[in-house]
């Protein structure tokens, strides 16, 4: 097989021109439907960042007043992922809301089992959006699948009047407003928009760290035009998300040939056909990364990707596969760079692949940090404290 050197693709800068976009701008229709009284459009609160998407359109990313649409997989199994997002917000003194009036988007189940339908999926989405709207905070979506799925739902609602009518009826019966956010924003877009501010407060040098990035399928393949691209990153030939953040932190991001491949999650597969997920994650992603880039860490920005790429390495190790690379999210990497505690904040003990050599390479005394975390756990066990607080996390 002939491989062209990948770097060549980035030698030329591709200017993006929204007037040449192959798709039309959905926003015109969203606001038009508002004028016609079909729904309320929740505006992105000011101040906001402006970033460029695939075809050069501008997307608004809110700085604060964000309503955190949590991810079930993150919160349930890798909770340091979401904790790091909140920690970053707190470090910058930003106003945010962590709601209890929120359900999963239910898309994981939908993509796994098909035991739902477009009407139910759209109603779940709009119920969550209505909940955000009532608080005055703007939805920031933690999960890549929720993000992609909500973009699909918005697209369908714009183009299918019958679906809109059905969902409106449901919202009326629930006594909730029919609200659509002006932008569907993924948390990693917020991290990307904040990258220079994060870098300004960086206390851990990462310039000797090599990372590979896995861009989440549902982030950049579903409604592809709504993902962030930058001429500075891969010549705008692939999404700038995560890579842009890591580069701002001084991390050396290395390329590998299977970057477009999915992680192997498969929705149904990760739960009941894990042999597929494991094989794909190891053979098409981790081993290729190891061979071509030999990274210290794999960084990604979605629930399923962190889980699959991390957890799949255990069994592969027993088979002598080339594995053993820790996997974490961009929010965890950004928090770590700013000095967050690896266990109280990043909660790395929920991850599987050994990350201690990586922490050592960063000059972090993981043993000491673990003892600090354990001491807090002991207090909880003895009933001396009910919970670990944010103050404890930074103590």
């Amino acid at each position: 097989m002939i491989h062209l050197p990948i770097l060549k693709a980035t030698d030329r800068k591709w200017e993006t021109d929204p007037s040449q976009a192959p798709t039309h701008d959905l926003k015109d229709e969203i606001f038009q439907l508002e004028k016609e009284g079909e729904w309320i459009v929740q505006r992105v609160p000011e101040p906001y960042f402006e970033v460029k998407t695939k075809y050069g359109r501008i997307k608004k990313i809110p700085l604060e007043k964000t309503w955190h649409h949590k991810s079930c997989g993150q919160c349930g199994h890798i909770p340091g992922y979401s904790t790091s997002i909140f920690w970053l917000n707190r470090q910058f003194g930003l106003d945010y809301h962590d709601p209890t009036n929120q359900t999963s988007c239910t898309a994981w189940n939908y993509y796994a089992s098909a035991t739902s339908n477009p009407e139910a999926q759209a109603a779940v989405a709009i119920r969550n959006f209505a909940s955000a709207y009532k608080t005055g905070y703007f939805p920031l979506i933690h999960c890549g699948t929720s993000f992609g799925h909500y973009k699909e739902v918005r697209h369908a609602l714009v183009h299918q009047p019958e679906l809109r009518r059905k969902v409106k009826k449901i919202m009326d019966r629930l006594g909730l407003p029919f609200v659509i956010p002006e932008e569907i924003v993924h948390y990693s877009e917020w991290v990307y928009a904040m990258r220079d501010r994060i870098a300004e407060r960086q206390v851990i040098d990462m310039s000797h760290i090599v990372a590979t990035v896995h861009p989440a399928c549902h982030y950049h393949k579903l409604i592809e035009e709504d993902a962030i691209y930058s001429e500075e990153i891969y010549g705008a030939q692939r999404t700038a998300i995560v890579t842009g953040t890591l580069q701002a932190l001084g991390v050396q991001v290395k390329d590998y040939s299977t970057w477009f491949d999915c992680c192997g999650f498969g929705f149904r597969h990760i739960l009941v056909s894990r042999d597929f997920s494991r094989s794909f994650a190891v053979q098409r992603k981790i081993e290729v990364m190891k061979e071509e880039a030999n990274p210290d860490v794999v960084v990604t920005h979605d629930t399923g990707c962190v889980t699959t790429l991390d957890q799949s390495q255990f069994a592969a190790k027993a088979h002598g596969k080339k594995v053993g690379v820790p996997v974490m999210s961009d929010s965890q990497m950004a928090a770590l760079a700013m000095g967050a505690h690896p266990y109280k904040v990043l909660q790395l003990h929920w991850h599987n692949t050994n990350n201690k050599p990586f922490l050592e390479k960063l000059g972090i005394d993981w043993k000491k940090k673990w003892d600090e975390f354990e001491a807090e756990c002991e207090k909880i066990r003895k009933g001396e404290k009910a919970y670990l607080t944010w103050e404890d996390a930074d103590a």
């Binding site: 359900t103 629930l174 929705f267 957890q311 069994a315 919970y387």
Partner: protein, 236 residues
Amino acid sequence: MEFALDLSANKYADVPYEEKERLFNEMKSDERWPHVLYGCYECGICVASCPSARFYDFSPRIIAQAAAREDVDLLYTLMNDSVWDCSQCFSCDRCPRGNSPGQIITVMREVAVRNGLQSAKEALEGYGRIIYKIMSTGTQVSPDMLQPNAFPDWGGHVNEISEHLEVWRKALPPETLHTTETGWKVDEKTLIELYLIWHMTGVMDMIEQIDEGLYMILVDVMEERLEDAGYDVTFD
């Protein structure tokens, strides 16, 4: 080379053509169908990016081709023997014809579930606990799912997590995350609204088709909670 996927017409020769046609018409009448299928160049670009095609005898091209040709027999075979292999990653959305083979598959799966096809039941075997979790609690993944017997191939760390679960959940700074049975703390009112959505959109009918036991458990849980909240709602 021997293929596991038998695409010959004989495989389901005993199923009347009219039945296959009825199911095809259900797919075709779905509002999404004209937005996800525009024909097919038969170029294979979808296959090149498809993870499932690498590890299974599976091809999004064949599915798109069959759908574009309206090959009722072949679609019936694929709906039974192929669609559950898809990873729903939507890498195939790069199709130059503007198709979304992944979404064609989503529609086919929904038709299979709504009609209680045996193959769909088998594909979802062992999956019922997940459906129960998401539909009854509002969060799909919960910390207490991390049990060694559920994830034996993830190694000893799952043991460790389940051993320390209570304390490790309390050792999370965000107050909403101190839960073990749900991903985060969900309000009672939120659940009621979710159940009403399931009720109004006919999702429970799909569950009944696929797993009657699960359906009955879910109905019990939901009706009781709805009644406590003052709603007179039944799922029959």
